[in-house]
């Protein structure tokens, strides 16, 4: 397994509260990604990072922010959680964004917003 951990693995929170999910990698890969996975949808990209302090938006970025202060850590923050953000969140890493670079996924965080 690629050296990716996510924390927490499970979280229950209430609408309107801030939530931060953490992704930690030990592979020293440059690119990190946050996806969400919902029934009836494929994995959808939220945000990604191409280096320390360098981030960009993905397909479904509204309501989410990210930060990357160290190569190994990528944080996803829900500033004010809503029920529509109940989902399973996956972090992924890749050595580079160029072609032929595979993304490897973490174990996921299951988030329930009540």
């Amino acid at each position: 397994d690629a050296g990716i951990t996510q924390s927490p693995r499970h979280k229950v929170t209430e609408t309107g509260t801030p939530v931060t999910l953490r992704c930690h990698q030990t592979e020293n890969h440059r690119y990190m990604y946050w996806y969400r996975q919902d029934p009836g949808h494929g994995l959808r990209l939220i945000h990604y990072s191409y280096g320390v302090k360098d981030t960009d938006k993905g397909e479904v970025s509204d309501g989410y922010s990210v930060s990357r202060s160290k190569t190994e850590d990528f944080l996803l923050t829900l500033e004010s959680a809503t029920s529509s953000q109940t989902s399973v969140y996956f972090c992924a890493i890749s050595r580079d964004r160029a072609s032929q670079e595979t993304q490897y996924f973490g174990p996921g965080t299951r988030l329930l917003v009540l």
Binding site: I4, G40, H41, G42, L43, R44, L45, D56, G58, E59, F90, R97, A98, S99, Q100, T102, Q103, Y104, F105, G106, P107, G108
Partner: protein
Amino acid sequence: EDQVTQSPEALRLQEGESSSLNCSYTVSGLRGLFWYRQDPGKGPEFLFTLYSAGEEKEKERLKATLTKKESFLHITAPKPEDSATYLCAVQAAAGSYQLTFGKGTKLSVIP
């Protein structure tokens, strides 16, 4: 807009009964097509990357093939441990290099 459609949504096979999963795609220039396996409660696990039409890759009982419009994941003599959801994703040649995923095919192999 890039699109990936996987079929069937679910497939039940008897142990040893070979079959194929389909991934149809539309993309403005294909850079790569990826297959992943996902077990319940876990993250996707990388299986294969295909880059050009005619390419084939194999791993144990799995073989992935690619044409200009679709990819097939052939499963030969499956075993119960092959039960999982199989995900297909494409990466476009231009733009943000974002992966576009299909919704997956849930495979169940019955002993």
